[in-house]
């Protein structure tokens, strides 16, 4: 379980988080919905200790992230897979090298096992025989899939998705949404998805949290969100109806 309590964060003069509270339960897919540039992605980075909050606590499986030593924090990160907004593939490495990097560094695998695991991770994201390609020669949708394969290579307990469908056409975005659902079923991961795309949110989410002006103004199920009278929530529902 992941628990965020009273998180405050400021960048320069801009107050991004004003006492954020959030609970992510095991085996659920929680979708954080909010406008772009509001600080949703920062929350994901805080959970794995890439950014530190000014105050407040983040507890993952009973461990306070802020109090961990660097080694402990690295061990905690093994539990997470992170799909970055632009996939963040290492552009000096091939697709295969991107995926096997963490396996070689952290796993006790033989070369043959690594090759098998890379193939399996690519198979899970519906890609075959792309190990030799460079990131610059594949499409945006494929990059996201490879990013996903890299994230799941070490079979994480938690998956963090930062705007997984942003910049993709509808068909490719739907494909990514289906993958997120399949990975949940196949690997049994707990997921947090950050998005401003309400359509994708409703496809993948079990529970939803609406992030506005540095706080969560509502958390609930799909029906709770759809029936909410709150105008700040309604604007997302109406944007979905329009699309």
């Amino acid at each position: 379980m992941i628990q965020l309590t009273n998180i405050w964060k400021k960048f320069g003069d801009k107050q991004v988080h004003n006492g954020v509270n959030l609970e992510v339960r095991d085996n659920e897919t929680l979708v954080i919905i909010g406008r772009s540039g509001g600080g949703k992605s920062v929350l994901l980075k805080m959970i794995i200790g890439l950014i530190k909050p000014d105050s407040g606590s983040i507890v993952v499986d009973g461990k306070d992230v802020a109090s961990l030593t660097y080694k402990q924090l690295q061990r905690l990160r093994f539990k997470f897979g992170f799909l970055f907004q632009g996939a963040a593939l290492f552009d000096s490495m091939t697709v295969g090298q991107n995926i096997e990097l963490a396996l070689r560094r952290h796993g006790d695998y033989k070369d043959a096992d690594i090759t098998e695991r890379v193939k399996f991770a690519l198979h899970l994201v519906k890609l075959e025989n792309v190990e030799h390609l460079m990131p610059s020669s594949i499409s945006g949708g494929m990059k996201k899939r490879v990013g996903l394969a890299r994230a799941i290579a070490l079979t994480p307990k938690y998956m963090l998705y930062d705007e997984p469908t942003t910049g993709l056409d509808v068909e490719t975005a739907d494909g990514i949404n289906l993958l997120i659902n399949e990975l949940k079923t196949t690997l049994g991961v707990t997921s947090i998805v950050v998005t401003h795309d309400i359509h994708s949110a409703f496809v993948v989410g079990d529970r939803f949290a609406i992030f506005e002006k540095g706080q969560f103004i509502m958390t609930g199920t799909k029906d709770d969100i759809r029936n909410s009278p709150n105008p700040e929530v309604r604007k997302y529902i109406e944007s979905d109806i329009q699309t």
Partner: protein, 269 residues
């Protein structure tokens, strides 16, 4: 409403006068502190370097092998120009063999280490900052951390180590080519016989001069690679941020090199 008096205007202008320099000084020390902290972390975790030996070899090729042509080209012309100008300035006053001595001393002590460093501050420094800066803005460095890698050990240590190892080697090659260039310039342009040039070179050569040049190259290699890595890691924003950091690297590395050149000369000579 606040009333504006001549006194309040004076105070406001005085505050403005001190605000900008004060902010600049604070920013300088902030960056110096972060730079030192990065270097400290790199040294503290140096034992991890062996895990990234592949990266170190890759960087040695990038920094060393790929820079050989430009270093040799610059050194050749530096040697020739030094010989021709020395000959022009001293022709009527001194024996011709002195040109050989002058070229050798100048090249070993100052010209090759300094000019190699300034050229590589542009070539190597800019490349490193642009590469790491792009990795920063495209979240590749965050991705490394998310995969439980230490990005300083993975990205900075191999580059700095490669710089420290390869700069002296480049300078040794540069020294040899610059002296050959000097010999060619002296004989072909200034009409000084090769024998006279070699006599001057032999009579003035001291091993310490060559060692001093190598020490300088090692220090310059450290400065250029560490400054460029730090600048790359600090990039914010998009491509504009990468461009700005790359420019800062070249300027800062060149300034640091000339200041350190003076310090080393004062301390070691």
């Amino acid at each position: 409403m606040t009333e504006t008096t001549p006194e309040s205007t004076l105070i406001s202008r005085s505050a403005e006068l001190f605000y900008r320099p004060g902010k600049l000084i604070l920013t300088f020390f902030e960056h110096l502190g972060r730079y030192m902290s990065t270097i400290g972390w790199m040294i503290y975790n140096f034992r991890n370097a062996k895990e990234y030996s592949g990266n170190i070899l890759q960087q040695m090729v990038m920094i060393g092998n790929n820079s050989i042509p430009i270093v040799l080209f610059v050194s050749m012309f530096v040697g020739m120009v030094t010989a021709v100008q020395s000959s022009y300035q001293l022709y009527a006053w001194i024996p011709r063999s002195v040109v050989g001595a002058l070229v050798t001393k100048s090249v070993l002590l100052e010209l090759t280490p300094l000019l190699t460093a300034l050229v590589l501050a542009g070539k190597v420094g800019a490349t490193i900052t642009a590469e790491l800066g792009t990795m920063r803005v495209t979240e590749q460095i965050d991705a490394l951390e998310a995969l439980a890698f230490d990005p300083i050990s993975f990205l900075i240590t191999p580059r700095v180590l490669a710089g420290v190892l390869m700069f002296p080697i480049l300078v040794v090659f540069g020294d040899l080519v610059a002296i050959l260039g000097g010999m060619f310039g002296a004989s072909a342009i200034a009409g000084i016989p090769v024998e006279a040039f070699v006599d001057g070179m032999k009579s003035s050569f001291e091993t310490w001069d060559a060692i001093f040049g190598i020490i300088k190259a090692t220090v310059f290699g450290f400065i250029i690679t560490s400054v460029s890595c730090y600048q790359g890691f600090q990039v914010q924003g998009g491509s504009e941020g990468v461009g700005k950091a790359t420019m800062n690297t070249v300027v800062l590395a060149c300034l640091s090199v000339v200041v350190m050149d003076f310090i080393l000369a004062s301390v070691l000579l």
